[in-house]
């Protein structure tokens, strides 16, 4: 179905057009008073300064990797390196555009809340985040489609797909730095601002006297817009690459219908169309309750998911060679994504028992609150893991027993179906990411409303929007982890297939594979330790800078009208530390699979990937949910329960929230990158490992 490739290009362009429309709508809204514009400009400058410096650093990394690809992978021509740079460039571009608009939407959302109320503010904030969502989907799909078209002209089909994997690696490289660096930045600024501001100086959150307040607001964008966007860009592109790579090998062997190669592109195209329609449903009425707002966003996401189903059915029907079992495998992925999001919300929402139990534990002090939070996080891993297990086994068996168009699925069909489940889960990415990226826009709008001293009722409206953002952030994290795991499994399947590894080689009885699996299971813990420590170190530098400013700038702490905090310095410090701290985890994530692949061989490397994916999945959920639940346990107490704000229980909950900050916003999300990046590095360098065959035999 050659037409599917063109369909994908058309859909990708449509997504970009929608992003442009959203961007224009945001930019044409009023940015409010001079003070609001000034604050917006400060946040924007900080965010763009970070992203520029980050991309400069990444450029060096990309250059080294491009040379490595050129030298180590003997493709004869520089196509791999070019594809890699192309992929990295597109992901960076998506991040850049998304950030520009998200940081333009914050003050405008606050202004809309002031002049038009919630029903004007919600769509604006959503569109501010929607630019990120649809740019990621659009550029991700466009890049793959154009890349495939181009490389197919100059190379054979199979080779073209080997090259395309490098586009995925490009996206992964950006994701590594955006997620890890962004995660460190956002929590260093947040923790640093809180430790001195709230705790030492006793001034409220988002107070303009706090020199780290702008860095804190910048951090929301850097972490939750650029970081999350790059993470899901990687998943989106990675899942399509993995499914198509499996299909290319299977089709060459005659096990799969040739149409399977481009089916992932067509699914993505259908997904964009569905997300596009869903995004027009985000509207609300004045005095909308918290639940109304949540229902609005949820309806939009569910509509998109609902529309995807008949769309994909149509694809299967029109083609005729693919078979209905594949349709149900895709559906499994889609449903798994929604279910994981549901359970994430259950475990982290303060209207539910688990989080309330954590709040209750504050009555016997900090220690029991911490223990309970860790226990809730650990317990919350059961449902998502069981869901993914069912999806993986179910999809495989569907694909394996698929007998369509006179062909029999077999193992190739099974692996293909598993990788397609990931594509299904991510198909409506445009809108799921939009609801995610909406969060920091609303959060920033609230911050600007506070700093610009807008009337109380405006602040109440932005608070309602912000609170909704916290919910979507939590479910978004669950979705990001689930899709990362399915993508990683798809990439591992593609890796095994393109390396020509047979089932018997990938056996648990091979001690190198088993040893590498144990080692892989350890890596997420080591990686988390590094990123958690990095946040602590970076936050300490912010603390010292804020203390210095309070000491040296006369009248700042007391709020004298002419005393101005030096926001830019805190922004610069956060930027510098985040960039420095992301080197070690970055090197680890790239070096570990390459070292194991060279030393212990390609089969052992598969063991490493499976071990890391298994334990990384569980650890990431635990960290995200413990962190989210601590955060909301604090918010639960702040609603007046258990003594309310200022009580001893509240103080205990604040400690829990602080412990949870690096859990949920730095270390946990970084694990998504670790498992995908190691898999895609393995996929790209597979030919090298196969050639060497392992130095230790």
């Amino acid at each position: 179905m050659e037409i599917w490739l063109y369909l994908a290009i058309v859909a990708a362009l449509a997504a970009l057009v929608l992003a442009a429309v959203f961007a224009r709508q945001v930019n044409s809204a009023s940015p409010g008073s001079d003070r609001m514009q000034e604050l917006m400009a400060a946040i924007r400058e900080g965010a763009m300064a970070f992203i520029r410096r980050e991309y400069t650093a990444v450029a060096g990394f990309v250059a080294i990797m491009a040379i490595l690809i050129f030298v180590l992978l003997d493709w004869g021509r520089p196509w791999g390196s070019i594809a890699y740079i192309f992929g990295a460039f597109l992901s960076a571009l998506a991040g850049f555009i998304g950030m520009r608009i998200a940081t333009a939407a914050n003050a405008r959302t606050a202004e809309a809340a002031r002049t038009g109320g919630i029903d004007a503010a919600l769509p604006l904030a959503f569109r501010g985040g929607g630019v990120m969502g649809f740019t990621v989907a659009g550029l991700g799909l466009l890049g793959l489609s154009l890349g495939y078209l181009f490389f197919r002209v100059i190379l054979e089909d199979e080779q073209a797909f080997e090259i395309i994997t490098a586009i995925g690696l490009g996206g992964s490289s950006i994701a590594l730095f955006s997620r890890v660096g962004g995660g460190i930045y956002t929590k260093a600024a947040d923790v640093g601002a809180d430790l001195v501001g709230k705790v030492e100086a006793g001034i409220p959150e988002d107070d303009p006297r706090n020199p780290a307040v702008i860095a804190d607001n910048v951090g929301d964008n850097v972490g939750d817009v650029a970081g999350m966007g790059a993470d899901l860009y990687e998943s989106y592109v990675g899942s399509i690459v993995a499914a198509s790579a499996v299909a290319v090998v299977g089709a060459a062997r005659g096990e799969l219908s040739p149409a399977t190669v481009l089916l992932p592109f067509a699914i993505a195209a259908v997904g964009i169309a569905a997300a596009l329609i869903g995004s027009f449903m985000v509207r609300t009425r004045e005095n909308a309750s918290q639940e109304d707002l949540l229902r609005t966003l949820r309806t939009a996401v569910w509509t998109a998911s609902g529309l995807v189903v008949p769309g994909i059915a149509l694809l299967i029907l029109l083609d005729g060679t693919i078979g209905w079992p594949i349709f149900f495998a895709i559906l499994l992925g889609l449903v798994a994504g929604l279910l994981i999001a549901y359970f994430t919300e259950y475990y982290t929402s303060y209207t539910e028992k688990p989080t309330q139990g954590i709040a209750q534990a504050s009555r016997t002090g900090v220690a029991t609150l911490i223990i309970e939070g860790l226990a809730v996080g650990m317990r919350s891993t059961l449902a998502p893991v069981a869901i993914v297990m069912v999806a993986v086994i179910g999809a495989y068996l569907l694909g394996f027993n698929n007998a369509a168009g006179g062909r029999i699925g077999g193992a190739d069909g099974g692996l293909y179906a598993v990788s397609l489940a990931a594509v299904g889960m991510l198909s409506t990415l445009g809108i799921t990411l939009a609801t995610d990226a909406y969060g920091p826009v609303a959060d920033n709008a609230g911050g600007i409303a506070e700093m610009a001293h807008l009337p109380k009722e405006v602040r109440a409206r932005t608070d309602a929007l912000d609170s909704l953002g916290n919910t979507t952030a939590a479910t978004g994290k669950g979705f990001a982890i689930g899709s990362a795991v399915l993508t990683a499994l798809g990439l591992i399947a593609a890796y095994a297939q393109t390396s020509g590894l047979q089932g018997a080689q990938l056996t648990l009885l091979d001690p190198r594979l088993l040893g590498a699996l144990l080692f892989g299971a350890m890596l997420p813990f080591l990686f988390s330790a590094i990123t958690m420590t990095a946040v602590g170190r970076a936050a300490m530098q912010i603390v010292e800078e804020v203390r210095r400013q309070f000491r040296e700038i006369a009248g700042l702490k007391e709020g004298a009208p002419d005393a101005r905090a030096d926001y830019a310095r805190c922004v610069a410090i956060s930027t510098r530390s985040a960039l420095r701290e992301m080197v070690l985890p970055g090197v680890l994530a790239v070096a570990a699979p390459i070292a194991v692949g060279i030393l212990l061989g390609p089969a052992a490397l598969a063991g490493l990937l499976v071990g890391a994916t298994a334990s990384g999945f569980v650890l990431a959920i635990m960290m995200a949910n413990s962190g989210g639940a601590w955060d909301n346990a604090k918010k639960f107490i702040e609603t007046g329960e258990l003594g309310g704000k200022g009580s001893d229980n509240h103080k205990a909950a604040v400690v829990g929230d602080t412990v949870g900050d690096p859990f949920k916003d730095t270390s946990g999300p970084s694990l998504n990158i670790l498992i995908k990046l190691m898999s895609v590095v393995s996929l790209v360098f597979a030919p090298l490992f196969v050639q060497i065959g392992g130095l230790i035999r």
Copy 2:
């Protein structure tokens, strides 16, 4: 080498004789004043009451399992059930004897410290723990040897070994309840006593006014003597069973020399002899420094390890059909155990950087101290996992490339060598467990010295002994985890071999295996969540009881001479909650492998076991080391650093210590049991799973 079986019986009897000698030496020492005897009796009664009620509950479990074995495993005759009950009985007996003597040694150690000084007290405390060490080794080895002799008479060789695995399962059943129940008991009493005593009422630790103080001291014995003993009994027996089971199958195929079947017994015999000699080296002089004491115990352990090496070399030399590569594989296991203990000490000792870093983090509050402690625990997983990885791969390659006596090792040789590495690591168990069980004796001696108001210099001596016990407890935990993992891997190898699973069946490309692996990686987290929550719930009941007694017993809190705390009630409450709380994790550990084996088949079950072992290993180390490091960070501050006792930093460290309590003494150690128990359940029920072949295909 038939003689090896008799050698094992002689060595086992020698171990039991030494235990009897130690017991007599302990019992003939003076138990001190009436008050001291009264306290000792209270602790002893509590401990024995717990163990009696625990064994009653376990008897029900054992009966159900025996019936299950009889019904599900069609061995025609009741041998499997009988072997199972025999194994459970021996482990329970070892726990009973060890506890009796350990709880008789505490007051006598305190009295020895009073009358004879440290050089009299140290050997006494060591012998009090040594009874546990040598009883476990003696009964463990004796039971296997006699069982094998007996079943060989009435069954064929291979069948006899299938039956012997049930002896291992018996030990595992006791370990489950002793470790999990004991872990819950000890921390519920400890946390409960601290929360009301130290925090609310402001009375010091081990103060006789605290109604939970006896329960707390009972808990030390229940958790660290009986729990640790049963854990290592399981590893000891399990590793021998696994190695011999692999050898039986390999020898039947002609791949392994027949001598390999009994080599594990011979290694254990040599190990007992070496441990016996080492245990005579525990002596010290008056005014021995902390370092002197540590050096004494270390010299004893290292001497035993050193003596094992030539002993094993002699076995290999005399037989001639086994080959030197196997010798080096055993050595790898032995060295791995010592290295893991070394790294555990590095990460948890307050003379080293990691723990001092945690103490430093207290300067910015509780949250940063918690984060730093978690990060240290996570980072500390690198070394042990790398060590085990090297040991597994190294041992396998040695065994694989072994060409002795005209036979070629191959895959059977590789698996055999891996399982022997575990036997090597555990060979000197008698003395390593003795140094472990020494800890609670010394701890109790200190408690009795405090409660009986012995002079300050006596308390200083018992403090020195106790502090040494903390170090040996930490390294003992590392050793227990490392040996549990190697034992589990050995059991998994035996499981794969006795199920007749080929390499190609155990492939990562099988989605059921992969899905089960993901699920297995989640189980340790779920298991830990359950045990952590159990501690919290049980501790709350203690808190309420202590509050009630302070409220209702006039003059108790103020220390009126005629006001007597009702110790027995706190003991009874701890016992009841621990027994109730261990049901759920116990059912989970047994039901999960059986359910997966029946539903997804024997290959998928191997995936579950590998996933659980990989993530359980890492999580157990993290929890043990975070907990140990928090504990010692608090002790570091108590030496006067960072403001010393009572400062804000100290208060933060106390919170860290409380969070760490269930980490290091309940949830972490329980994971050892989880991974071994699931493996041995799989091994025993393997014929059933093979017969069914998985309901979901």
